[in-house]
C-alpha cells in the first residue's frame, strides 16, 4: 500500500502520534511556532507568492495509483528555493508517497503509476528523456530509518561522488567527504575513524552520516522521510539544528509526524489527508489559523 508512512515504524517511538498530539494544546503549538515566526526578518523567502519564479519544484495535478488504490488525488504544490517545507498528516494520507514522487523513488515500486506534472527548475522530471539516476543525484533523500551502507564511514560519503564521477582525484574526494561530514555536523566525531564501518555509529550519528551521504553529491533538493522517527530527543534536536543550517544551501522537504518538529524547522507546511492536499501555506498560518477545519482538527489532536 502506501509506502513507508505508517508501516514499519519502530514500536515505542518517542515522537509517535497521536498521544503527543492529543496532549499538546493549541497554546503549546503556538509557542513551538514562535521562534520560527520571523523568517522574513532574516531575509527569508517571500512566502506570499504562490508560483513565484523562485519555485524550485512545481507539482500540478499529481495523481498516484498503487494498482487499484488511488493514493494521491490531484496535488498542486510549489516548493521554493532555500526553504524547508514540511508535510504533515495522519498515517496513510499520501505525504510520503508525494515525497517519493519528487525523486521518482516510486518507480521502484511495482504497480505504481504517476500522472500529472512535476518540474524541477522548470524541467519535467517524468519526461522520457530525463535520466532518473541524474534526477536522484539532484534530489537527494534521507530515510526514516538510518540506512548507512555496511561500508566504512568514508566509503558511505564517497559513494555518491564516486558513482556520479564527481571527484577526479583522491584529494578532491577526500575534500568532498570532509566537507560533507562537516556540513552534516559529524566531522569532529568521526574524523579519526573514517575507516570504521558506518553501521557502528549510534542511531543519531548514522542519520547524520546519511545526510552527509546525501549532500556529498551537492543536490538541489533534499527529501527527508520522517528522518527523526527512529531517534531519541537529543539526536532529534541535533538533526533539526542541522536542517536549519542546511537550508542556506539546499531546499529541504521533510515528512514528519511530529507537529512540534514541523513548527520548529519549516517555513511552509502542507497538510495531507486521505490523498488530498488539504491546505498549504506558511507554517505559522497553518498552525495558528488554518483555513480548513480538517487541518484545525489534526493540529489540535482531534484525529490523527
Amino acid at each position: 500500500m502506501v509506502a513507508g508512512s505508517a508501516t514499519g515504524r519502530p514500536a515505542g517511538d518517542a515522537n509517535d502520534e497521536p498521544e503527543g498530539t492529543q496532549a499538546m494544546s493549541e497554546v503549546e503549538v503556538l509557542e513551538a511556532v514562535k521562534p520560527e515566526s520571523s523568517p522574513a526578518t532574516r531575509g527569508g523567502p517571500n512566502l506570499s507568492a504562490t508560483t513565484a519564479p523562485r519555485a524550485r519544484v512545481v507539482a500540478r495535478d499529481v495523481h498516484v495509483y498503487y494498482g487499484e488504490t488511488h493514493a494521491l488525488k490531484g496535488i498542486d504544490l510549489d516548493i521554493h528555493k532555500n526553504e524547508v517545507v514540511s508535510f504533515i498528516g495522519p498515517s496513510g494520507c499520501g505525504k510520503s508517497t508525494f515525497l517519493r514522487c519528487i525523486n521518482r523513488m516510486n518507480d521502484v515500486i511495482e504497480g505504481c503509476r504517476v500522472t500529472g506534472e512535476i518540474t524541477l527548475d522548470g524541467q519535467d522530471i517524468y519526461a522520457r528523456e530525463l535520466d532518473v539516476v541524474q534526477l536522484r543525484a539532484r534530489v537527494g533523500m534521507v530515510f526514516q530509518k538510518p540506512n548507512p551502507f555496511p561500508k566504512s564511514i568514508y566509503d558511505n560519503v564517497a559513494y555518491g561522488p564516486r558513482i556520479h564521477g564527481l571527484a577526479g582525484s583522491k584529494d578532491v574526494l577526500d575534500g568532498i567527504v570532509e566537507g560533507s561530514l562537516k556540513r552534516a555536523g559529524l566531522w569532529n566525531e568521526v574524523k579519526d575513524r573514517l575507516k570504521e564501518p558506518g553501521t557502528g555509529l549510534s542511531g543519531g550519528q548514522q542519520q547524520r552520516l546519511c545526510i552527509a551521504r546525501a549532500i556529498a553529491v551537492n543536490p538541489e533538493v533534499i527529501l527527508m522521510d520522517e528522518p527523526c522517527s527512529a531517534l531519541d530527543p537529543i539526536a532529534t534536536a541535533r538533526i533539526e539544528e542541522l536542517i536549519d543550517e542546511l537550508r542556506e544551501n539546499f531546499t529541504i522537504v521533510i515528512v514528519t509526524h511530529s507537529m512540534q518538529q514541523a513548527a520548529r524547522v519549516s517555513q511552509r507546511t502542507a497538510f495531507f489527508h486521505l490523498g488530498n492536499l488539504v491546505e498549504w501555506g506558511e507554517t505559522e498560518q497553518i498552525f495558528t489559523m488554518p483555513n480548513d477545519e480538517r487541518t484545525q482538527g489534526y493540529i489540535t489532536g482531534r484525529f490523527g
Partner: protein, 428 residues
C-alpha cells in the same frame, strides 16, 4: 447481553484451572520429547551407517606387503627398451629367493601365486622412471595377492575347510614362514589414493575417480555458478511480477525436483548424441551435473538476494545508483555468503550424484587418471558403483573405503560452506 468481567467468574486457583495448566505443561514436555526422540533416531541411524562403513572399510586403508631385494639384471631389461623388460621373471626370482630349497612345480606355482600380479608393473614403473637402476639392486615392497591380503587381515579365517577358502593349506604354510621371519608388513595403503582402477583389488585406487570428479565439478561450477547467479539476479531484481515470471519460478522449482537419471538421459541424447561430445568424459559429466545444480543455486541465490534488507537498496537508489550499481555494489556483496553456501551445497550434491554419470558412461573401466576434460574418466560415486559390482573379495572393503572418502569430501565441502558463511557475513 452485558459484558462480564472475567475476574468475577473465573478463579485462577481452582482445581479445574490447575488441571488445565498441568495439561498445558504436559503437552509442552511431550512436544519436546518427540523432538529429542526424532533427533536421537537420526543421529543413531547416522552412527550405524558410519560404524558399519568403518567396520567393513578400515581394512582397505592398509595393504599387506612383502619387501624384496631385486637385482635388475641387464639381461632381462635392455637399456634401450626399458618398458619391455621381463620384470615378471625378476620379481618372481626375487620372491623365490626368500624361500630357499627345492620346490616341486605345483608348490612353486602355489607359492608364486601369493604375490600380486601387479607387482611386476610396480617394478617396471620404478625402473622406467629411473633407468640408471639397471644393473643395480632395488629394494621394493610389493603387495600380496588379494587372498593372502584377506587372510592376513583375518577376513578369511584359518579354520574353514580348505575347499571353502581361496588360500590353500600350502600357501598358509609359506605365509606362516614369511610372517615368522618378519617379512610381512601392512603399511598404509597409498595405492588407494595414487592408483587408478584395476582388476586386482590390491592394485586398485581412487586417483582416477578423484581427478574425474574434480574435473566434472569444475565444469559444473564454471557453468552453474555464473548462469545461476545471473538468472537469480534477473528474476529477483529486474523481472516484473506477472504470469510469465510465476511460470518461470514454478518451473525452476520443478526442475530442482526432477530425478537426476532424467538429466542423464538428456545429457546422453543432447550432449553426446546431438553435439557429439565424447562419452565418459568429465566435460559431459560436469555439464549434466550443472543442469541439476542450477536450480539449487538459483533458489539459494534468490533467497540470499531477498534477505538483503530493502533499506540498503533504497539508500543506493536514493543517492542515484543505477540498477546495475545497486546490484553489483550493494546487494550482491551482501548476498554472497548465502550464494556461496548454496553453491557449495549444490556442488556437494553433484559430487554424490551417480545415476546421470552412469548414463553418460562415466562408469567405464579406466586404468589411468584422466589428463583432461575430454579423457574418459570415472567419478567417485561411479567408482563405488563399479567396485560394489566386482566379485573379488578385496573390493568389498575398498567399496566401503571409497564411500568413506566420498563422505569425507562431502564433510569438507560443507565445512567450507560454514566457514565462508561465518567469514563473509557482514553484521549491521
Amino acid at each position: 447481553m452485558a459484558s462480564r468481567d472475567i475476574s468475577e467468574t473465573h478463579d485462577w486457583f481452582s482445581d479445574s484451572a490447575r488441571l488445565h495448566i498441568k495439561r498445558r505443561h504436559a503437552a509442552d514436555r511431550r512436544l519436546r520429547l518427540y523432538g529429542i526422540g526424532a533427533i536421537g533416531l537420526a543421529i543413531g541411524l547416522l552412527a550405524v551407517l558410519l560404524g558399519s562403513l568403518i567396520l567393513s572399510g578400515h581394512s582397505a586403508f592398509v595393504q599387506t606387503m612383502v619387501p624384496l631385494e631385486i637385482y635388475v639384471d641387464p639381461d632381462a631389461v635392455e637399456p634401450d627398451n626399458v618398458g619391455g623388460g621381463n620384470y615378471r621373471k625378476l620379481v618372481r626370482d626375487a620372491f623365490q629367493d626368500l624361500m630357499p630349497g627345492e620346490m616341486s612345480r605345483t608348490k612353486q606355482r602355489a607359492y608364486l601365486d601369493m604375490l600380486s600380479s601387479g607387482a611386476p608393473f610396480m617394478l617396471r614403473d620404478r625402473v622406467v622412471s629411473n633407468p640408471s637402476l639397471i644393473g643395480q639392486t632395488v629394494s621394493i615392497s610389493v603387495p600380496f595377492a588379494d587372498p593372502i591380503d584377506q587372510f592376513h587381515k583375518g577376513i578369511t579365517p584359518r579354520d574353514v575347510p580348505e575347499a571353502q577358502r581361496r588360500v590353500s593349506d600350502l600357501q598358509i604354510g609359506y605365509y606362516d614362514q614369511l610372517l615368522e621371519r618378519g617379512l610381512i608388513s601392512a603399511p598404509f595403503n597409498w595405492t588407494l589414493f595414487t592408483a587408478a582402477d584395476s582388476r586386482f583389488p590390491e592394485m586398485a585406487g581412487l586417483a582416477g575417480a578423484l581427478v574425474g570428479s574434480f574435473y566434472a565439478l569444475l565444469v559444473c561450477f564454471l557453468i552453474s555458478f555464473p548462469v545461476g547467479i545471473a538468472a537469480a539476479i534477473y528474476l529477483e531484481e529486474f523481472a516484473r511480477k506477472n504470469r510469465w515470471s510465476d511460470l518461470i519460478e514454478v518451473n525452476i522449482n520443478n526442475l530442482a525436483a526432477v530425478p537426476s537419471v532424467v538429466f542423464g538421459l538428456l545429457g546422453l541424447a543432447v550432449f553426446i548424441g546431438f553435439f557429439g561430445l565424447p562419452r565418459s568424459a568429465p566435460l559431459v559429466g560436469g555439464m549434466v551435473l550443472s543442469l541439476m545444480t542450477l536450480p539449487t543455486i538459483i533458489i539459494a541465490t534468490r533467497a540470499a538476494l531477498k534477505a538483503v534488507p530493502p533499506s540498503i537498496r533504497e539508500a543506493a537508489f536514493g543517492i542515484g545508483a543505477s540498477r546495475h550499481q545497486v546490484v553489483m555494489h550493494h546487494v550482491l556483496p551482501l548476498a554472497m555468503p548465502g550464494i556461496l553456501t548454496g553453491t557449495i551445497i549444490g556442488l556437494a550434491q553433484a559430487l554424490g550424484e551417480t545415476a546421470p554419470l552412469l548414463l553418460i558412461g562415466m562408469n567405464a573401466f579406466i586404468t589411468s587418471a584422466p589428463g583432461g576434460l575430454t579423457d574418459p574418466a570415472t567419478a567417485l560415486p561411479t567408482q563405488i558403483f563399479i567396485w560394489a559390482d566386482s566379485p573379488e573379495r578385496g573390493f568389498v572393503a575398498r567399496t566401503s573405503a571409497a564411500i568413506l572418502v566420498l563422505i569425507g569430501f562431502l564433510i569438507i565441502m560443507n565445512a567450507i560452506a560454514i566457514f565462508l558463511r561465518q567469514k563473509l557475513e557482514r553484521k549491521w
